[in-house]
């Protein structure tokens, strides 16, 4: 993704994205009834917003800087006087971290509905902790157990959270 961003230019890409979102919203808005100004229908507001978003997306794409031009948001570097030379260091996508964070929340959802609060709490902390390269398997396990304990004491016992500790379904 970072490579794509670099080649196309953030503004071009962002503007295009906004045009697409706007077009989708406008298209959907039209399928709901638009109504008249005197009796606005449910589609009028989202439809108008979609069209507006398309226009603004177009403006962003057109007025935005081309790829590799100095970025406008580097105000902080202005004081150093050499802003044009400094481009933010390319950030490599952190796939392991991303994968683990997303998976941990999904695990919470799945285990929450099929396994109960304790396994869900353990899973979310355990999997997310594995996303960080510095964490060992043991550290992740300890963190998972600690969070499971917190969820039992604080949420289930003190705050009466409506989710069984264990369940099979």
């Amino acid at each position: 993704m970072d490579e794509l961003i670099k080649r196309a230019g953030k503004d071009r890409l962002g503007g295009t994205l906004m045009i697409l979102v706007g077009a989708g919203a406008a298209q959907q808005g039209i399928t709901y009834s638009l109504g008249t100004l005197a009796a606005p229908g449910p589609g009028l507001f989202p439809g108008t917003l979609g069209v507006l978003l398309m226009l603004i997306g177009l403006a962003i794409a057109v007025t935005g800087k081309r790829a590799r031009a100095p970025l406008p948001a580097t105000a902080g570097t202005r004081a150093t006087g050499a802003a044009a030379e400094i481009e933010p260091a390319p950030r490599r996508a952190e796939w392991r971290g991303w994968f683990c964070i997303v998976l941990s929340i999904i695990a919470f959802i799945v285990l929450g509905s099929h396994g109960g609060l304790v396994p869900a709490s353990f899973a979310v902390a355990f999997i997310a902790a594995l996303g960080d390269r510095d964490n060992t398997l043991l550290a992740a396990c300890v963190l998972g157990v600690a969070m499971a304990l917190v969820s039992v004491v604080v949420f289930w016992w003190l705050l009466q959270l409506q989710l069984p500790l264990f369940q099979w379904s």
Binding site: L17, L37, G76, R78, I105, D132
Partner: protein, 517 residues
């Protein structure tokens, strides 16, 4: 009239200061604070979880305890917002903008101290203003119909969209995106499902807490995982660093006063809520600042002003909330609901017929604030220690709290899924340099903007002149136009200047400095 108000307020304080009542207030502040500080648990979830506790109490201690929970969890939420960039309450989205950078610069304790001082100062001023101006404020509140509310929201959306760093166009695009996100769910007027993608779980709309925690929490984790080792920097933290210094207090004083003024002004307008108020206060502070580029990088003013605005708004907001029954935001609506349970019916007669009760409520809010200051001054050090936790332990734990917190809001696992989706959307948007705070503003105001626009149209039978015929609405629209024209002017001037610079082949560094304006 003023003398009568003071008398009633004194009586209200008398009730609230009885030892028995004071104790409940203290319990509320303490529990609220402890729950609010957990990531994922803001004022909204704290109040909704603790509300059942007050059912069996008498009305007065129940309200006192609620006020305590409100202040405690609000401040607890601010701790999460400032130290960990996790806002659970929309006004804190603005506090994050500069509060979190302050933490990254090792000034998190100062930010917390200023937040506390600003909220106390603003709430006190709010009460004084109410004593002297309540009859006037009631009159203003009654002048606000749908066209006025619509036009002020338009102003708030524009100001909020253009205030963030970087391109104003991107800010406005994000505001519109937020408005669209806000329109997801069942349409109030026709019962039609909009943008639900066939999922019945979306018929009630998107959950606010899920949106906020996805955009700030998960997005932040996705961007920082394996890159950040400790939020608080390794700088040593001493008790001395946590208290704001005299120069910092001086620096925060005028922003605090301006924020309070904005909050008081907006307090009288029904249905506006603290979110829009904080965004406008922040935008104003950035406009009057001599070096606006500091904002977003840990400017003390950017924390003091919105926090003050939010709290003075909350105090003064009682007038329209109680006299018209229109709550400004979800938290206020919850408190109003609690009052209804205890047999306190909001309406135009409430302030005149039950003066003692109305002022007692106000007194209890102020007392909640005082207790909060007393409780938290020695506690700031404890909160700041939170930052010493290494990031590799911090973010998995925070993810756990986010999951459980979002689940507890509505007992819905589906909404936990919303957190992932918005976290990923937020990461893409941030990577493309879009500001995410306006999305939250748009989301909160969206349903109200649409509702009031449609009501205005029904009132005027489809004639748009209703917005220009009414002086208050016209005034706000003129300010909106000025804002847009001003932005266009600056953009055009910047573009012309840049072209000239390019033509003259000056130093590229200067071309960039123009682009920043």
């Amino acid at each position: 009239m003023v003398a009568q108000s003071i008398l009633d307020l004194l009586q209200g304080f008398g009730v609230a200061l009885q030892p028995h009542n004071l104790m409940w207030s203290f319990v509320g502040v303490l529990i609220g604070n402890l729950i609010g500080v957990l990531p994922g648990m803001g004022a909204l979830s704290a109040i909704s979880m603790l509300l059942p506790l007050t059912y069996t109490m008498h009305a007065v201690p129940a309200i006192l305890m609620l006020a305590g929970i409100f202040y405690g969890s609000q401040y607890g939420g601010a701790i999460g917002a400032i130290l960990l960039n996790l806002p659970c309450h929309p006004p804190h989205a603005v506090t994050c903008l500069d509060g979190y950078p302050m933490t990254r610069n090792g000034k998190g304790g100062t930010a917390l101290g200023i937040t506390m001082i600003a909220s106390f100062f603003a709430a006190s001023v709010g009460i004084i203003v109410m004593i002297f101006a309540s009859p006037l404020l009631v009159k203003i509140a009654f002048k606000f119909g749908p066209p006025e509310i619509f036009s002020i929201m338009l102003l708030g959306l524009l100001a909020g969209g253009t205030m963030s760093r970087g391109s104003p166009l991107k800010g406005i695009a994000m505001t519109i995106f937020g408005l669209l996100v806000g329109s997801v769910g069942t349409d109030v007027n026709s019962g039609l499902m909009r943008f639900t993608f066939g999922m019945p779980d979306l018929s009630d709309g998107i959950e606010l807490v899920a949106l906020a925690l996805g955009f700030y929490g998960v997005t932040e984790f996705l961007r920082n995982v394996n890159r950040l080792h400790s939020v608080g920097d390794s700088a040593t933290l001493r008790m001395r660093d946590m208290r704001p210094s005299r120069t910092e207090l001086k620096q925060a004083f005028w922003p605090m006063v301006r924020g309070t003024a904005v909050g008081t002004l907006f307090g009288a307008m029904p249905g506006t809520g603290p979110t829009i108020t904080t965004f406008i206060a922040y935008a104003l502070e950035r406009r009057v600042s001599k070096n606006p580029e500091r904002f977003g990088q840990g400017a003390l003013e950017g924390v003091a002003s919105p926090e003050a605005a939010s709290h003075s708004k909350t105090q003064v907001d009682f007038i329209p909330t109680m006299s018209l029954g229109i709550p400004g935001d979800a938290v206020m609506a919850l408190i109003l609901g609690a009052l209804l349970i205890h047999g306190i019916q909001p309406g135009p007669q409430l302030i005149t017929e039950h003066e003692d009760l109305f002022w007692g409520l106000i007194a209890s809010f102020w007392i909640g604030n005082v207790l909060l200051v007393l409780l938290n001054v020695p506690m700031i050090g404890v909160w700041v220690k939170l930052l010493r936790v290494p990031y590799r332990y911090l973010f998995p734990s925070a993810l756990f709290f986010i999951c459980v917190g979002v689940y507890s809001t509505n007992n819905s696992l589906f909404q936990v899924g919303e957190v992932v989706v918005f976290g990923l959307i937020g990461a893409v948007l941030v990577a493309l340099e879009f500001p995410v705070s306006p999305v939250l503003l748009g989301y909160v105001l969206g349903p109200m903007v649409e509702e009031n626009f449609r009501r205005s149209m029904l009132l005027s039978r489809g004639s748009l002149t209703i917005f220009t015929d009414r002086p208050i609405a016209l005034g706000f629209l003129i300010v909106c136009t000025l804002l847009i024209v001003g932005q266009l002017f600056f953009a055009l001037r910047g573009w012309m200047h840049r072209r000239d610079v390019e033509r003259n082949q000056l130093l590229p560094a200067e071309a960039v400095s123009v682009a920043d304006d």
